[in-house]
C-alpha cells in the first residue's frame, strides 16, 4: 500500500504536478491556498513586519491539497486553507496541529457569529481548535427578473415547469444532493440515508429535465447567460459569481432561499509539519490574516464574505447550513452519474 502511494506521488511529480516546495528553506512559511486569499501586497506586508519568508502556492482543487499534504505527511505545506467539511479528513489522518488561540488575538475581533468557535460545526474536535474560519460564501438562487413573473424565494423554483429549458445548475454531485435534501426537509443534508439519497435522486432526475445545461466554471456562466435565456440558476460560486454576471451586463438578482442554503466556510489550518518557530510563524500569519483591514480587502476584492468584515452576504435571518463532509462521496458520485445517464 505504501508502495502504491509512493508510485502515485512519483507519477504526480513526473507529470509536473509536484511543485518545487521541497527545496524551500526551513525558515520559509509555505502557504497552500486559493487564488485571492493571499495577495502579493499582504504577503509583502507580512514578510516586512515579521522579517519572514513566505511562499504561496495556489491550487485548483481539493485533490491537489490532499495529495500534497497526505503525500508528505504535512512536510510540504505549513498552512492550508479549505472548507471545514474537507478539513475533517485531515484531522482524521492526524495531519493537522491544533491552533493555539492565545497566539491569535485577532480572533476576538471577528464578527459576532464567528467568535464562538464551538458553535461552528467541524472547527473543534476533542476540545481543541483545528481550524480558523476565514472566508465563506452561500449557494445562491440566481434569477433573471425579466424572465420570472415574481421573485423566487425557494429552491423549488428550479423545478418550476414554467422555466423548463431555462434552468442552470452546477455540475457537482455534492451540492445538488444537499440542496435537494434541504428542499426535502432532511435533518442533516450532509449525512443522508440511502432512502433520502434515493428520494433526492428522483428529484434531481426531474431537475435534469428542467435544465438547459450543467455548468462547471464561473466563466462559463457568463457566456451561457449571454447566448441563452436563463430564468433561474443555482449559483455555486455565490456572490462573486453574481457580481461577475452583472459586470458582464447580465440582468441578474440572487437570494438565499427560505429553506436555507449550504454555505462553504474556508478555514485556515496548520499542518503537523510546522513545528517550533515555524508553528509560531504560522500562528502569526493566521492572526495577520484575521486583521480587519485584510478581511475587508479580501471581501472587497473577491466578493466573498470574510469572518472579519460584514459584507451583508448573509443576514441573521438567513438559514445557513455550514458545509460539512458528506456521508459517502463515492456513493453520491455514482448516483450523480446514474442521474446524468438517465435519458
Amino acid at each position: 500500500m505504501g508502495r502504491m502511494r509512493k508510485l502515485l506521488t512519483g507519477l504526480a511529480v513526473l507529470a509536473g504536478l509536484g511543485t518545487s516546495t521541497g527545496l524551500a528553506q526551513s525558515e520559509t512559511l509555505r502557504i497552500v491556498t486559493w487564488q485571492g486569499y493571499a495577495d502579493d501586497d499582504w504577503v509583502e506586508e507580512f514578510e516586512a513586519a515579521y522579517n519572514a519568508d513566505v511562499q504561496v502556492t495556489f491550487v485548483g482543487d481539493d485533490a491537489e491539497i490532499w495529495a500534497k499534504v497526505r503525500g508528505s505527511n504535512g512536510a510540504d505545506a505549513d498552512i492550508i486553507t479549505t472548507n471545514t467539511g474537507q478539513l475533517q479528513r485531515y484531522i482524521d489522518a492526524n495531519l493537522l496541529a491544533p491552533i493555539d488561540l492565545n497566539m491569535v488575538p485577532n480572533q476576538k475581533e471577528v464578527l459576532e457569529q464567528f467568535r464562538d468557535l464551538a458553535k461552528i460545526p467541524g472547527v473543534m474536535r476533542n476540545g481543541k481548535v483545528f481550524m480558523m474560519p476565514y472566508v465563506y460564501a452561500p449557494y445562491l438562487l440566481a434569477y433573471n427578473p425579466d424572465l420570472v413573473s415574481e421573485a423566487p424565494t425557494s429552491w423549488s423554483s428550479l423545478w418550476d415547469p414554467k422555466y423548463k429549458g431555462k434552468v442552470l445548475t452546477h455540475d457537482s454531485y455534492e451540492y445538488n444532493f444537499t440542496i435537494a435534501a434541504i428542499l426535502d426537509g432532511a435533518k442533516d443534508p450532509f449525512q443522508l440515508s440511502e432512502d433520502e439519497l434515493q428520494r433526492c435522486k428522483t428529484k434531481l432526475i426531474d431537475l435534469q429535465h428542467q435544465l438547459l445545461s450543467y455548468y462547471q466554471y464561473p466563466e462559463e456562466v457568463v457566456q451561457l447567460w449571454q447566448s441563452n435565456e436563463i430564468a433561474v440558476m443555482m449559483a455555486a460560486y455565490g456572490p462573486s459569481q453574481i457580481n461577475a454576471l452583472r459586470k458582464a451586463g447580465a440582468k441578474v438578482e440572487a437570494v438565499i432561499p427560505k429553506e436555507g442554503t449550504p454555505t462553504w466556510l474556508d478555514s485556515m489550518a496548520v499542518t503537523v509539519g510546522a513545528k517550533g518557530a515555524k508553528y509560531d510563524l504560522a500562528m502569526k500569519w493566521i492572526n495577520f490574516a484575521l486583521k480587519k483591514e485584510i478581511s475587508k480587502a479580501l471581501a472587497r476584492r473577491t466578493n466573498f464574505g470574510t469572518t472579519g468584515f460584514d459584507t451583508g452576504a448573509i443576514t441573521p435571518n438567513d438559514k445557513i447550513f455550514w458545509v460539512q463532509s458528506i456521508e459517502d462521496p463515492t456513493r453520491r458520485s455514482d448516483l450523480w452519474n446514474e442521474i446524468k445517464a438517465t435519458p
Binding site: M1, R3, M4, R5, L7, L8, L11, L14, D61, D62, A63, W66, R70, R89, A93, G165, D171, Y173, E174, Q208, H209, L211, L212, S213, Y214, Q216, E220, Q223, L224, Q226, S227, N228, E229, P329, T330, S333, W336, N337, E338, K340, A341, P343
Partner: protein, 289 residues
C-alpha cells in the same frame, strides 16, 4: 585521465549508437508505458477510506459489465463517435480531394484555411461554437427564422450539439490524412488509367478511392479516437443529455476519488479505441497500404 583517443572513439562508435537508440526509444516508451502500467495497477485496486488499496480485484470491471448504466453510456458514446467519424471522414474526403487537385497557390490557401482550427486553443473553439449554438445563438436564430417549428433547439445543449461540435472540430483531422494519401498516388497511375480509356469517374472509383483507403482509415481512426476520448465537448455543449464515457471517467477522478473505477473505465475506453484501430487496419485493402 589518460585516454587513448582511438580506443575511446571506438567505444563511442560501438556503444554510442545503441545507447542513442536506447535513449530515443526508451524515453517515449517510458512516458507511455509507465502511466499505462500504473493505470493497469490502479484499475485492479479499490478505494478504502481516502486511500487506494492494491487488492487485485476485478470488481471494477465486473461493475462496468453488470451495471446497465455503464453499458448504456458506453454504447451511446460509441455510436456517437462512430457517427462523428463517418461524417467527418465523408466530409473530409471531398475537401482533401479538392486540395489535392488544386494547383499551387490555391492549394496552400486551402491548407491554411483548414489548418487554422488546429492552431486554435481547444477550449476557445468550444466557447466559440457554444455562442453559435446557444438558444439565442446564430444557428438557433436561423432555424427559428426559417420557421420549421420542429427544428428550433435542435442543436441547443444536447447530443446533436455534441455531434456537431465534435464533427467541426475534428474535420481537419480527417482532411489531412486523406490529403496525404491522395498526394502519395503517383500521377502516372492516373495517366495510365486515362490512357486505358477510363473516365474521371471510373479512375476515381477504381484507382483513387482504393489507393486512398489507408488515408481514409487513418482519418476514421483519428477522429474516432479523438472523439471518444473527449470529455470537454460533451461537458460544454452536451447539456443534460450529452453524457458520455469521457464524462463518466472524468467524474471518477477529482472529488469522487474513485481512481480504480476510473482507471478500469479508461482501460475499457482504450480497448474500444484499439479494437477500432485494429478493425480499420483489417478492412483496409492490403495492397493499398
Amino acid at each position: 585521465m589518460n585516454v587513448n583517443p582511438d580506443k575511446s572513439e571506438r567505444i563511442v562508435r560501438q556503444f554510442g549508437r545503441p545507447l542513442f537508440y536506447c535513449f530515443v526509444f526508451a524515453v517515449p516508451l517510458l512516458l507511455i508505458a509507465a502511466p499505462f502500467a500504473s493505470f493497469l495497477a490502479i484499475s485492479v485496486g479499490e478505494v478504502k477510506g481516502s486511500d487506494i488499496v492494491m487488492s487485485l480485484t476485478l470488481k471494477n470491471f465486473v461493475r462496468i459489465v453488470e451495471d446497465p448504466l455503464y453499458f448504456q453510456v458506453v454504447w451511446k458514446t460509441i455510436s456517437l463517435c462512430l457517427g462523428v467519424s463517418i461524417v467527418t471522414t465523408c466530409l473530409g474526403y471531398p475537401i482533401a480531394y479538392l486540395i489535392a487537385i488544386s494547383t499551387h497557390s490555391i492549394r496552400y490557401a486551402l491548407i491554411c484555411i483548414f489548418s487554422i482550427p488546429l492552431l486554435m486553443n481547444y477550449v476557445i473553439k468550444i466557447y466559440a461554437m457554444r455562442s453559435i449554438l446557444g438558444g439565442s445563438g446564430v444557428l438557433n436564430k436561423f432555424l427559428e427564422i426559417i420557421g420549421i417549428s420542429g427544428l428550433s433547439n435542435l442543436f441547443v445543449f444536447n447530443l446533436n450539439a455534441v455531434f456537431l461540435v465534435l464533427a467541426s472540430i475534428l474535420l481537419p483531422f480527417a482532411i489531412f490524412p486523406i490529403f496525404i494519401a491522395l498526394e502519395r498516388i503517383p500521377n502516372s497511375l492516373l495517366h495510365a488509367a486515362a490512357d486505358l480509356g477510363a473516365s474521371r469517374f471510373f479512375t476515381f472509383t477504381r484507382i483513387i478511392l482504393p489507393l486512398s483507403m489507408p488515408g481514409v482509415a487513418v482519418a476514421f481512426s483519428f477522429t474516432f479516437v479523438l472523439a471518444i476520448g473527449d470529455f470537454i465537448t460533451p461537458q460544454m455543449v452536451g447539456g443534460p443529455t450529452g453524457f458520455t464515457l469521457g464524462r463518466v471517467i472524468y467524474s471518477q477522478f477529482g472529488l469522487a476519488f474513485n481512481w480504480p473505477f476510473g482507471a478500469a473505465l479508461s482501460i475499457v475506453l482504450m480497448t474500444i479505441v484499439m479494437v477500432t484501430i485494429a478493425l480499420t487496419v483489417f478492412v483496409t485493402p492490403r495492397r493499398a497500404r
